[in-house]
């Protein structure tokens, strides 16, 4: 080996799926004691490269060396034995097992040949403590939130990895605090000499934690660079192969017209549910984008559940066009022209065996009733237009969903709801896992739809995203709507201060 510090060295990795090249002669070197970011657009081949390195897929070409010895792991178990621990983009562990069982599956502590449950429980507790998680490890994994599950998956992989740790979009459902906690663990592991590969679409996080970066584009290697010497704009153009068009707040002018619309057609007053969200008032005008900010657990998702009828409100009224409506179920909400794209769409919304077109047409079909099937021509043109406007790749409407990369699946789910042409669309974390280029496209598209009169409620942890698109931001804390920011007040700083406000008073 040329470089004595190199831990994992892959040369000329190639892979094709059904004749379509996903990776073309990619070189990748991971050094001991470094955090190495792997970046690229949706569908660039990041997950595929990871899966080849960790024994899920077999490679068509290339060689792989670990610690100087040639290796070819042919299963995840084999990779684990080599000291490579991985959190895959799609893995959600096993919901039918307990937290402890998930953490120690395949490597349970044993006494006299039998699994030692007590020891397993003890070690699980100790393991999760490092991530600030104090939960009942004997409870089923399914009883915990996505964030907790993600942390459990990470804890498992970290514990498994003697040499290499691979994290494919590990931070997608974590809040800022949890991300910090994870990064602290990663830095400590780096100190211990582990090599860490991390895939993410959050460039802030890349700069915060990674030492080097490798960029892929369309299955090819663009380059590997030290982050300290790489300006952000250059990194972005490495990823996109072009400059990023800047998102400006063009909607400033539009704002006045919205504000001047006298009566809001969609109004919630005194709306709330005990134990879920305190009663709140919310008026939504056509073309308006209402952002919802707040920490995880502040009541953001609960607000969305109430607005969409997943949870029934026990106080207050909802009116649409001066008519009182009862949002007793999502069906009722859909009938009133509402749409909802939930946070957990990664696992819930996708029907892997259906084609992209079928997945996109699903909500439209549900809305007009299954008795009246959409013609295949209609479906094709629907799919076509969204594949184009959201830049879903590969642009093949007939491909099965499961063969799309994670980010492209998300775009298709977003398309599903946009396709219903709702008058009010509720989006919970709409752009997580979506690359920076597509991110801009989606925001542009949202602006266009709003210009056509659609109203939008966007829940997001990314303040830049909120400030870029929202006309108004509602800030939640402790399950209460505590502040509302309008027009020029909508800045990241103001939102942050509003979120922090109650905590400060508490401290005082």
């Amino acid at each position: 080996m040329s470089d004595t510090n190199s831990l994992l060295e892959a040369r000329g990795i190639g892979k094709a799926f059904l004749g379509i090249t996903a990776l073309d002669s990619v070189d990748f070197t991971l050094e001991r004691g470094e955090i190495h970011a792997l970046l690229g657009e949706n569908g660039a081949g990041k997950s595929t490269l990871i899966k080849i390195l960790t024994g899920v897929y077999s490679r068509d070409h290339g060689t792989m060396h670990l610690d100087g010895a040639e290796v070819t792991p042919s299963s995840v178990a084999e990779a684990q034995d080599l000291g490579i621990g991985t959190v895959y983009q799609e893995v959600n562990l096993l919901e039918n097992l307990t937290v402890a069982e998930n953490l120690f599956l395949g490597r349970q502590p044993r006494r006299f040949g039998l699994i030692d449950r007590r020891e397993m429980r003890r070690r699980s507790k100790a393991l999760l403590e490092r991530y600030g998680l104090d939960i009942d490890v004997d409870a089923l994994l399914s009883s915990y939130s996505v964030a907790v599950r993600q942390l459990v998956a990470i804890a498992r992989a970290v514990d498994l990895s003697g040499k290499v740790l691979v994290l494919d979009e590990p931070t997608a459902s974590l809040d800022a605090h949890e991300v910090e906690m994870l990064f602290a663990v990663l830095r400590r592991l780096r100190q211990e000499g582990l090599g860490i590969i991390i895939i993410t679409h959050f460039l802030n996080q890349v700069y915060a934690v990674a030492d080097r970066v490798t960029v892929l584009r369309n299955g090819r290697l663009v380059g590997t660079r030290k982050l300290a010497e790489l300006p952000r704009l250059e990194l972005i153009s490495m990823m996109l192969g072009r400059e990023l068009q800047h998102i400006t707040r063009e909607h400033q002018a539009q704002e006045e017209t919205i504000a001047s619309t006298a009566e809001a057609p969609i109004r919630f007053s005194g709306y709330g549910k005990r134990g879920s969200v305190a009663p709140f008032d919310l008026d939504i005008r056509p073309g308006e984008v209402v952002g919802v900010a707040g920490l995880l657990g502040s009541g953001r998702t609960e607000t969305a559940f109430l607005l969409f009828g997943i949870d029934r409100a026990d106080s207050g009224t909802a009116t649409v066009d001066n008519q009182q409506i009862t949002l007793s179920s999502p069906e009722a909400a859909i009938a009133s022209g509402f749409g909802f794209c939930p946070e957990e769409r990664k696992t819930d919304g996708i029907i892997g065996d259906f084609s992209v077109a079928d997945n996109i047409a699903l909500a439209v079909q549900a809305r007009q009733g299954w008795a009246k099937p959409i013609s295949s021509r209609e479906k094709a043109s629907l799919a076509e237009s969204f594949i184009k406007s959201l830049d879903i790749r590969p642009a093949d409407a007939n491909r099965q969903m499961k063969f799309l990369s994670g980010g492209n699946q998300q775009k298709a789910i977003l398309a599903r709801w946009l396709a219903t042409g709702p008058r009010l669309l509720i989006l919970d974390e709409p752009t997580r896992g979506i690359d920076i280029g597509a991110h801009a496209e989606i925001l542009k598209m949202i602006e266009k739809l709003c210009a056509d009169g659609m109203s939008l409620v966007v829940i997001s942890s990314e303040l830049e995203e909120l400030t870029a698109i929202a006309h108004r931001v509602i800030v939640l804390s402790d399950r209460k709507h505590i502040a509302q920011l309008k027009g020029d007040q909508v800045t990241a700083d103001n939102i942050m201060q509003a979120i922090a406000a109650p905590a400060r008073t508490e401290a005082a």
Binding site: V76, L97, L105, G106, A147
Partner: protein
């Protein structure tokens, strides 16, 4: 607190206790150890086979070959011992090897050829039944001093009941089965595969060898059930035990194991067997009811349980959704 995971099992247990109490109210004699001893002996072969079926269903699969393998085993043993004069132990060993290999082969086809378990084991069912016919279409009686000794062996328990060798064998199989499921890595892997094969694979579970192992275990236990059946009837008959696999599935499902895999307990299957035995015993005590009532009641129970399971899943999903919200 009861784990929602164990709710079906607890329900089954409750139903069994209530049903048994009602039976005893009507026929106080049903309380006797004699009745219980007979119930265990009569259902020993079914119970043994049902343990194998539990593992298969826990992994999200199904094994339809069980009844045929039992028939094959009994004919094979009867001919070997009765007609060819082979020592019973040799015959037992040989037939266990054959049935285990047969199961492994089915497991390998399911895993490596990607054929659904339903199809593979359906083929296995015809194959084993055909092989049994090939050996003999007659009922072959069997007699050997060792077999007589096993049949005659029992522990006397207080109250006049007899704990026979067959009943002991079944209880042992249940105990070992419960340990394997709950306390070994193999068992954990079975639950993992039943939860999601894809996730299990990405977590490093050896899905291939586990799948083969599951069907090998089911084959082995079918063979053992066949031996128990031979001892129970003192004969081998290729037309016997048709549809036993369905009784086994019924016991597993009534015992609270989800047909979709990943959730259930071996102990639940034991209760499932007891419930089936209880119904038979009740019919015997009543004396006027046709034995077909067993099937009818089992049918009704199955319906009830499947609806119940749906209900529980629905309920716990709701609670989970709520719980998740609370904790977010």
């Amino acid at each position: 607190m009861i784990h929602t995971r164990n709710l079906p099992f607890v329900t089954t247990l409750g139903i069994f206790v209530i049903a048994y109490a009602l039976c005893v109210l009507q026929f106080p004699n049903m309380m006797s150890t004699r009745v219980i001893g007979n119930l265990l002996t009569d259902n020993a072969f079914l119970g043994i086979a049902a343990v194998g079926m539990t593992f298969v269903i826990l992994s999200g699969g199904i094994d339809l070959s069980i009844g045929s393998v039992i028939a094959f085993t009994s004919v094979f043993v009867a001919v070997m011992v009765g007609s060819l004069g082979v020592h019973p132990l040799v015959a037992f060993a040989a037939v266990l090897v054959i049935s285990t290999l047969f199961g492994s082969l089915m497991g390998a086809m399911i895993r490596y050829l990607g054929i659904p378990p339903f199809v593979v084991t359906l083929a296995g069912m015809f194959l084993a039944r055909g092989a049994a016919y090939l050996i003999s279409t007659e009922s072959v009686p069997i007699s050997h001093e060792m077999i007589d000794a096993i049949q005659g062996f029992y522990f006397r328990v207080p109250g006049g009941g007899r704990l026979t060798a067959l009943a002991i064998l079944m209880l042992l199989v249940f105990i070992v089965g419960a340990f394997v499921a709950a306390r070994t890595r193999f068992g954990a892997n079975v639950y993992a595969i039943g939860g999601s094969q894809q996730s299990a694979e990405l977590m490093g579970v050896p899905v291939g060898s586990t799948t083969v192992g599951i069907y090998a275990l089911s084959g082995f236990l079918s063979g053992l059930a066949g031996i128990a059946y031979t001892l129970y009837t003192s004969s081998g008959y290729s037309l016997a035990t048709v549809g036993v696999e369905l009784d086994a599935i019924a016991a597993v499902v009534i015992g609270g194991t989800l047909l979709t895999g990943g959730v259930g307990l071996v102990a639940g299957t034991f209760i499932g067997i007891l419930i089936q035995g209880l119904i038979q015993t009740y019919i015997v005590f009543d004396g006027t009811l046709s034995s077909w009532w067993t099937k009818i009641v089992i049918g009704i129970l199955l319906f009830v349980f499947i609806v119940l399971q749906r209900g529980i899943i629905w309920y716990s999903n709701r609670r989970l959704a709520e719980g998740r919200l609370k904790e977010i």
